[in-house]
Amino acid sequence: MIWRVGNGTEPQDLDPQTVSGVPEHKLIMALFEGLVAENPRDLSPEPGVAERWEVSADGLVYTFHLRADALWSDGTPITASTFLRSYQRMLTPALAAEYSYLLHCVRGARDYNEGRLTDFSQVGFRAVDDRTLQITLQARTPYFLKLLASHYSWYPVPIHVIEKFHGLARKGTAWTRAGNLVGNGAFVLKEWRQQQILTVARNPHYWDRACVRLDEIHFYPVENQDTEERMFRTGQLDITYELPLAKIDVYRRENPAALRTEPYLGVYFYRFNLKRPPLSDRRVRRALALAVDRESLVQNVTRGGQAPAYSVSYPGTAGYSPRARLSGTVEDARRLLAEAGFPAGRGFPRLELLYNTSQNHRIIAEAIQQMWRRHLGIDISLRNEEWKVYLDSQDAMNFDLQRGGWIADYLDPHVFLEIWASSNLNNDTGFAHPDYDRLLAQALAAPDDATRYERYQQLDALLVEELPVLPLFYYTNVRAVSPRVRGYHHTLLDNHPPKYVWLE
């Protein structure tokens, strides 16, 4: 049984500690497994390499009990010290792992990662014995287990193999090549032909091998959406990475069984540059936000089943839905704009909306440009930049308005709210509100989720009030999936543990 998967771009590498990106994530999910794994239906933490775990009363110390039959695909046992040495490698400054900050919630991890601490034994990882691992956190991190389950930066790596290739402090050694790579996931790497195909086959040493039904998975790197869709149609693929916009209606009409449009835990928004007038004026931001017809946008422009966004947080993230909601009419928008000194848009400077070069972002921007012109009488010009240039401009806040998006790494409302803290590197709006930072800290320290979510409600209310960003819609994933594919359930993070997938 072979599952043929369209997998976007060519993976950079297969080292869980040095890659970033969605195609890599999908591969690593097949090849590696963390302490905690994800339930295929709701992504809740379930046993992985650890068969059970305990959390101390103060929420700071996590103790994991590893299963006795946890083995690498070459038969080497996985012990607590494997994890210890994996995390040490991840935090080694010379390795320069991009995602190392995800481990910074562990006591001393940040200091070690940034070179202020050189003795790893002072970092909050401890091997109590071969099968017991203890992790001590810096502060309460209510979403810690979810992070552990969903993010590959927490997966163990085969130190005994990496050492052979002198890769402990170096990226890109040959250990990840076919024939060398050793993993602990349900599948092992069989073949990797760059820009062509990457094949994984069943791992005979995997502890839960009885559950695995697929013999092989073939991952095809296909960057071009149209090409990919044609490959699906000619039967070269069982599942696509995405689906071109124009094809959605066709599939709805002709092949509804293969079309999957599923909510995806992410929000699409426009950042305001609060440091530039007139956007520094809250009334102007509110006017712009109210003059957008989100219903029309998702129905006529994005057309992929997206839900209009009236708040920043995604409704229904791990039981949390924001009560705050952006509301008001176009008349309100006009009134606010007039109050701000621009009646009927007169005298409003020609602002620029920055987006990255892409057909989809362009048509959304063009549609919104028209809405503002029609409803508010203002002209916004569009500026597109190639991806890296655009990111550079975002970082330097070299924009008036900027298209942005945020996709969650783990299933918790915290992901959408933390980025608007004044110190967050992804804020990039100039939004710095002392109340916001204080409430966010309180949320993390909250003793239980109910209290924590109450703080999040206040944060969302503050965001709707201040509007440093203009939320537009919540993402969906749109792809073609052959009806033969089973065990591939919808999950909000779009994680689909491949060990549960089979074909009919």
Binding site: E10, Q12, D13, L14, D15, T18, S20, P93, A94, L95, A96, A97, E98, S100, Y101, N113, E114, G115, R170, K171, G172, T173, A174, T176, R177, R193, Q194, Q195, Q196, I197, Y220, P221, V222, E223, N224, D226, T227, R230, M231, R233, T234, Q236, E386, W387, K388, V389, Y390, L391, D392, S393, D395, L425, N426
Partner: protein, 306 residues
Amino acid sequence: MLRFITSRTLQSLLALFVVITATFFMIRFVPGGPFTAEKAVTPEILANLEAHYGLNKPLWQQYLDYLGSLARGDLGPSFKYPNRTVNEIIADKLPVSAELGALALAFALALGITLGTCAAVYRNTWIDYTASAFGMIGISVPTFVIGPLLVLLCAIHLGWFNASGWYVPADRVLPALVLGFAYAAPISRLTRGGMLEVLHQDFIRTARAKGVSEFRIVTHHALRGGLLPVVSYLGPAVAGILTGSFVIETIFTIPGIGREFVNSAFNRDYTLVLGTVILYAVLIMALNLVVDIVQAWMNPKVRLEG
């Protein structure tokens, strides 16, 4: 002759040096670096990353380092694909592009020469016009239109080929056709011109008078002389096919060097950009050198100009 070759080679090396230097500094001038990512990393991690790849050194130092390793034939590691070196990527991808290019050229020659010969033999008749018009399609319709159209027709409706990829021999057909088509028109034009000239010469008339069939005259007598202009066009054609293959490679997801170059420019994969640019420059220069030498050999007067 030896002096000519030596001086041309030296000139090419000088040009290559200019290309390397210009590209090195140009790509650094472009905003965004190889590690610019959507989810911003902390300044400390960024500093670690830059140190890992030696990007924290002064630019001139990096430039000298690069030239040093280049002299040893080492094009450095790729930033985007850390477990591959640029040498490996090129060794992996160049044969694919070369194969695609060779097939495309073969197709272009076959089509172009046939069309050009027909046009010349039936000069100023509807055959001439049709052949010219057909050839013109190749240089008037962008490949990214012809490509998907052919896929739609031959792969999806007729089911003759795969929609894309580079796995089985049949996968070579569509991309080679589309890429070669654009070069058929100039070849056909040159063939037509060359053939017309030859067909008016005395030995052809003699052959005709002797009663040799027209078909035989064309294939056995005229074609050899008529194709001379095409030979001089081969250099630019090969260069064009090589550097123009990235669109085809993208449409058909072919693992070739053209796609690698375009992606590396977008990824700011500095070493891979440089590596591919150097590769293209060397290939094109070598081609020009060969063409020059052949021309000098055929026409001694050129040597004086060298």
